[in-house]
Amino acid sequence: MPDRLEDFRKEIAEWIAENLPDALRGQPRNEDTICWGGRKWEFRSQAQKDWLERCHARGLTCPRWPVEYGGGGLSRNEEKILRDEMDRAGAPSPLDSFGIWMLGPALLQFGTPEQKAEHLPEITAGRIRWCQGYSEPGAGSDLANVQTRAEDMGDHWLVNGQKIWTSYADKADKIFALVRTDRDAPKHLGISFMLIDMETPGVSTRPIRLISGASPFCETFFDNVKVPKEGAIVGEMNRGWDVAKYLLTHEREMIGGGSGGLTSGATLSEMIGDMDMVAGADPVIRAQAMELEVDSLAFCLTMERYKDMAESGAGVGHASAMLKYYGTELNKRRQEIIMSTRGSEALDWGEGLAAPWLRSKANSIEGGTSEVMLDIVSKRVLELPSK
């Protein structure tokens, strides 16, 4: 490894040692410990607040973003080192948000200088929490069928319609949404990618209670919502589908986001405990766990290989749909095995196993179902005919 990277590793390890509050060290990652930020955010502890502010000041909430927007300006290799050192120190992610994962990359690719300057620093600092308004009751797998309308009223857009499955809409400050700006165009070509403040009159949300008991998703309603035109649309008007597609591909390539390799992350054995104690008498469960372990490790390596492919310029393109398909199906298998190894113990909500098991069923639905992913692979990668 070049000296420059070794120096960086040393520097970042020292910085983490000095700045990571002890209270956060080695915390499990869950809804009680994640920091989402935003105007309505209440920090879980002073330590969480300190950690966010220190990381932001160092550009570490968005390590790869340009420094001028509050990012770290790091290279891929530096980011990998940062992640390794954060893992090693047991440091939690300082900030999670749809702004970091989705809107930011879209703005960096399609945004005007003004849009970048307005929104990116708010995201890196954790001051604005974004949510994603894509799906509608009649536009699930057929996402391009969105019907939420934005009418041109001269100085503003008048938005009417309904979104569904909006993650954390009730907690978000702003929404990036796919809205129809041309009703006469073919359905992929009349959609724009629009930024809307959730505090605008006419925007309302209603949480949806899921089978897991949680309500991370909402319905979002737009009732004569006036959106000022200035900077409202990202990318070209009526070409929002391009932005959405870019983001979906980006999202699929980023799935997992772990550092890959064979030694990172919790092993299945750590997650289910001693096999001999819990499932020693059941050779079938044991065999299923062994098979899952083989497939999971190979999948970790595949994420690493796809990142290498993307970095080397070979491109991954539509094959990233495969990662989304495989990774989510693996996670469902994992949750099933965890449930069956723990038997009746796992059936009590208080044990905390049932909720993630039920939640995992959404993995292969949200962000494009497994069946849509298989369609993409067969048509775009394998080029199988349509008739």
């Binding site: 064979l262 092993t267 299945l268 054995s269 750590e270 096999m275 044991r286 766990a289 062994m290 098979e291 372990e293 083989v294 497939d295 490790l297 190979a298 999948f299 390596l301 595949t302 690493e304 290989r305 290498d308 492919m309 970095e311 080397s312 070979a314 094959a319 495969m322 398909y325 495989y326 069946e371 992913m373 298989l374 369609d375 692979v377 067969s378 048509k379 990668v381 394998l382 080029e383 199988l384 005919p385 349509s386 008739k387």
Partner: protein, 370 residues
């Protein structure tokens, strides 16, 4: 560590190998060999050796090309794609890797392609080196070997055989020998293997082995064998990965061409989703195979997990690919005139050779604390 994608040199090696094999060892050449009752074509092997393939894992001081395990895997993948039969795995990978660590003056003959080796480990229907029972009875300064080895790849054509035998109790009681196959008391019986390659049963009856025939240390047979076994398992996984690519390309071609109900059968979503799922399994396995080569090149002492992962995955994916291949071809896939069956039979042999799925999945699970 190097990335999991091919380097520029590796890409060139792959292109050169593919060009050579497409021209000189297409699946039709395998069919010709099979029909002639020939396990491999010695002329083809000479040409492979001239290109440096026989010395891919041998140092330049012994006349090798010293390209490493990932490169050996790329060659094996390309050979798997066209079912090219050769002594590559037995001699250039398994024997070369074993002898390189142990140190041997026969390395240069392996690199030239003139010394053909076989590995004799299995004694029953499943690969289990630590359960080796074959007797190595001390006599004078040497040993006498007696017992039977089965499923010995290239066992009928090899000049020399690496044989694991029991010289004492327990795991420390195994010794690896390097024996001339012409030695008195050693007889082979060629098996009629479904993949039409050379597999043989070797019977040892009081075969003399001197101290000079010991590879590594007396009692250190498993350790002496480990580098060769791991290298062979990784290269076999690569061959299976190439075989999978070969049958899948045939199957996709058929899906795009065959018409029923006035439609191309590849337009049916039921088949599209199965083909897409197979693509996913192929991609995931390809990562494990590339990774095993990388780890063998950079951290050989820590390679067992990576190698077993690759062999386990490659075995399962090849099985899926050949089953889907035959099924999607329909009746023609069942005929001997069509090539799909060749892939299925080689995949079954490759599944068992050097440890099956269960053997390697158990190693992975144990190393991961399951």
């Amino acid at each position: 560590m190097e990335r999991l994608v091919d380097t520029e040199d590796e890409g060139m090696l792959r292109d050169a190998a593919r060009g050579f094999l497409d021209e000189n060892a297409p699946v039709s050449a395998f069919r010709t060999n099979r029909d002639a009752g020939r396990a491999f074509d010695p002329g083809l092997w000479r040409e492979m050796a001239q290109m440096g393939w026989a010395g891919v894992l041998i140092g330049e001081d012994h006349g090798g090309a010293d390209m490493g395990h990932r490169a050996a895997g790329i060659l094996a993948e390309e050979m798997g794609r066209t079912l090219a039969a050769s002594p590559f795995l037995s001699s250039a990978v398994i024997a070369a890797s074993t002898m390189r660590v142990a140190g041997s003056d026969r390395l240069s003959q392996i690199a030239e392609g003139t010394a053909l080796y076989a590995l004799a480990v299995d004694e029953g229907p499943k690969h289990a080196p630590d359960l080796t029972a074959m007797e190595a009875r001390p006599e004078g300064n040497g040993f006498r070997l007696s017992g039977r080895k089965v499923f010995v790849a290239d066992g009928a054509s090899a000049d020399r055989v690496l044989v694991l035998a029991r010289s004492g109790e327990g795991e420390e009681g195994l010794t690896l020998f390097d024996i001339d196959t012409a030695r008195a008391g050693l007889a082979h019986t060629a098996a009629d293997s479904i993949d039409a390659r050379d597999f043989a049963t070797l019977d040892f009856e009081n075969v003399e082995a001197t101290g000079e025939d010991v590879v590594g240390e007396v009692g250190g047979g498993l350790a002496a064998l480990a580098p060769g076994l791991r290298a062979g398992q990784a290269a076999l996984a690569a061959e299976l990965s190439g075989l999978t690519a070969g049958i899948s390309a045939m199957t996709l071609g058929y899906l795009k061409e065959r018409k029923q109900f006035d439609r191309t059968i590849g337009s049916f979503q039921a088949l599209q989703h199965r083909a897409a799922h197979l693509f996913a399994e192929i991609e995931v396995t390809a990562s494990a195979v590339a990774h095993a080569g990388r780890v063998l090149d950079h951290e050989p002492e820590r390679a067992q997990l990576a190698v077993s992962l690759a062999k386990a995955r490659a075995t399962q994916t090849a099985k899926l690919a050949v089953m889907e291949g035959v099924q999607m071809h329909g009746g023609i896939g069942m005929t001997d005139d069509y090539d799909a069956g060749f892939f299925m039979k080689r995949a079954r042999v490759g599944a068992e050779w050097l440890g099956d799925y269960g053997h390697h999945a158990a190693i992975v699970a144990a190393m991961r604390g399951l």
